[in-house]
Amino acid sequence: MSDLDAMYQEIILDHYKHPHRAGLREPYGSEVHHVNPTCGDEVTLRVHLDGTGEDAVVEDVSYDALGCSISQASVSVLTDLLVGKRVGDALEVHEAFVTLMQGRGGVEPDEDVLEDGVAFAGVAKFPARIKCALLGWMAWKDATSQVVAHPDHEEQS
């Protein structure tokens, strides 16, 4: 498989064409807007948690993303992976994904943890695209830490 095909896995193109959980929904505990200054890709992302602290559960992640196949597919996969998980576990998956992306192609992804996310292994070989793959993930972490920091913050709905 060429490097190109390794990046544009079927799974990625599928998520790109048919993104999961797209759109902005209520209720949510925090909303963030992240931009990739290099290319202008943007994502607005909302996180809705149920409960508090590390035991809280990711009830919903909704988003409005403008961007390339990689950035769109990656946020779509993110929702599949993280929604329904406890925040602590979700953060572990997050870390595994970031490690995979920053590994320059040298990290062997754990399919049990990352599921469809392993499809992004090929992206790690393209430094310019790593930021695309991480855009939604960075937004999610930012939004989540905001809710965790202010659990008593009024939920928007």
């Binding site: 060429s2 544009y8 290099t38 290319c39 202008g40 961007g67 390339c68």
Partner: protein, 421 residues
Amino acid sequence: MSVQLPGLLEDLELVRKDFPILGRTLADGHPLVYLDSANTSQKPQVVIDTMVDHLERHNANVSRAVHQLGGESTEAFEAARDKVAAFIHAPSRDEVVFTKNATEALNLLANTMAWPGELQVGPGDEVLITEMEHHSNIVPWQLLTERTGATLRWFGLTDDGRLDLSNIDELVNERTKVVSLVWVSNMLGTVNPVREIADRAHQVGASVIVDASQAVPQMPVDVVASGADFLVFTGHKVVGPTGIGVLWGRRDLLGKLPPFHGGGEMIRTVTMERSTYADIPARFEAGTPPIVEAVGLGAAVDYLGHLGMADVRAHEEAITGYLLEGLATVGGLSIMGPTTVSDRGGAVAFELDEVHPHDVAQLLDSRGIAVRAGHHCAKPAHRRFGVQSSVRVSTYLYTTPEEIDALVEGLEYTKKYFRVD
């Protein structure tokens, strides 16, 4: 070469041999097809060799030393100023200020206009720019007007990517202190009627700043005929090195600006109580200047001068025409900016239905074709056309029709890869 187009540079294959990088083979054995020259141009061997010779044989600081190396280095540095002055037809070499890049040149102007002086911009004053400016000609003016209480105003764009001059009489008025505009857009490729706007601006006493970053590489430039009071460009887009840009300004107006950066070489004398400043151009060149970069830029404009800027312009028109024709054959492709070669430079931005610009660029890159995807530092212009990013193809004096053919094939391949039909 198979395709023959009227207007192409003679001996194009020989010209290409001047640029070592054009012989490079990329991943999977693809030859480089470099279509990103509006981002930065490639460098001919003579520019590189001139820099190497300077570093290996003549390196010394300038203006400061009595010794032989210092003399040689100063002479080479100042000769570069003469060459640049001649290249843009500046009335005087002293009007050529070396900066770091075009961005610094624009910030020099916007920055010094914040402080007391005849050109100071204050509350109630208006600064007028256009919706097709590069961020480097937007943000400095946003900072200036925010900080001084002046107002920033904008020329809008027409649907075909030209300046909308319909409200010029309202936009250019007695409050207008500065009109700053791009000569050739780095995104849309539009060539603006700089002279016409400058004449109008001068009627109300405004200063006219021309961002010629994409103009100086592509066409013969005469700063006086352009109508500009100040004009900027950047070394790395005229086959010169990074680290050097040029601010040209009318002597009387440069003399009215207060100092920009303070430091070595820009002073007349320094005491603990106060300092006085050198005459132009030294006044605006604080610190050790980009010496080897100026020397490289001198070799670069010599190179362009030997080719002849009229011929470079003719080449650019021929190739751009061929490019526009080629892109017209690709279904689902829509161009932002003028679709004919008249009043148009060699940068063409477009969208391809259902494939994000990043993905287009990636697919092309897998075939060795280098284009740019993104907002090209022109977010307001992208927003004007309702898009967040685009693909930009930009040609230069070394671009061949065959490279355009490769691009068009690459775009068809991209569509297939992403299953667009």
